[in-house]
Amino acid sequence: MASVPMHQGLLLAGILFALGLTGLLVRRNVVFILMSLEIMLNAAGLAFVVAGSRWGQPDGQIVFIFILTMAAAEVSVGLALVLQIYRRFKTLDVDAASEMRG
């Protein structure tokens, strides 16, 4: 039913991935950083679904499910950490969490 070449799907994934990466590199707010990570993971999942669709296999979708699980796990730990950090550092600025260096 679809006749979109795989290129287009992968290109979309790539663009989303790059956008997520940009967000990760630019934003200072921890919540935004976590969101950017979600975008990147979602893009990777999209790439898998595209690839699986190319081969007509369910494997790509299965990997997507696992990525979904993993994203959920990351986010839950990440957000718990954000709460803790907000309590200790009184800010959400990641650059505040750079006491260790050198």
């Binding site: 006749s3 979109v4 290109l11 790539g14 956008l19 630019v26 919540v31 679904v49």
Partner: protein, 168 residues
């Protein structure tokens, strides 16, 4: 159907751009949800209805709600937006944007390869996915459960408000 794909793709890209540039966290989250929904549409177009549904339910539903929840808890209001405005100087976008541009360029380059890769294009039914998932990938499912267990314990430990100072 092609048109649906392209529209969904453009919506996804635009809403993602907006998501990462918004200053207000809740606005950003809403854009992100839009982005995820359009990706779900893309999934559907590519013959993966099952994950399209999952994308909507789990990603756009559960995970984003978790975000909203935390944002609410932290009570990021106007002050935070103001703070974001100070943090976000236009110059900061330059470097990362270049990196991202190179990355997109690379993706585009490698996809411009003449060996055309067409979709197999058959719809992969949820039933098939399920059979595979609980067949060869059974161990994967179990591992995913351990992954969630680890996350659960970790989040529980880290999220605890008072570190048991009374202990011992």
């Amino acid at each position: 159907m092609d048109a649906v794909f392209y529209i969904a793709a453009i919506v996804a890209i635009v809403s993602t751009v907006l998501a990462i540039t918004r200053l207000n966290a809740v606005h950003a989250l809403l854009y992100l949800i839009v982005s995820l929904l359009s990706v779900a549409v893309v999934f559907y177009v590519m013959g993966a209805p099952f994950v399209a549904a999952l994308e909507v339910i789990v990603y756009a539903g559960a995970i984003m709600v978790l975000f909203v929840f935390v944002v609410m808890m932290l009570n990021l209001g106007k002050a935070a937006t103001e703070m974001e405005r100070q943090w976000q100087k236009p110059g900061m976008w330059a470097g990362p944007s270049i990196l991202a541009a190179i990355l997109i360029g690379e993706v585009a380059y490698l996809l411009s390869n003449p060996s055309t890769l067409a979709f197999g294009a058959a719809v992969v039914e949820p039933k098939l996915v399920a059979i595979q998932l609980f067949g060869p990938y059974l161990i994967g499912v179990e591992l995913a459960s351990m992954l969630l267990l680890g996350a659960l314990v970790g989040a529980y430990h880290l999220g605890r408000r008072t570190q048991g100072k009374t202990e011992k």
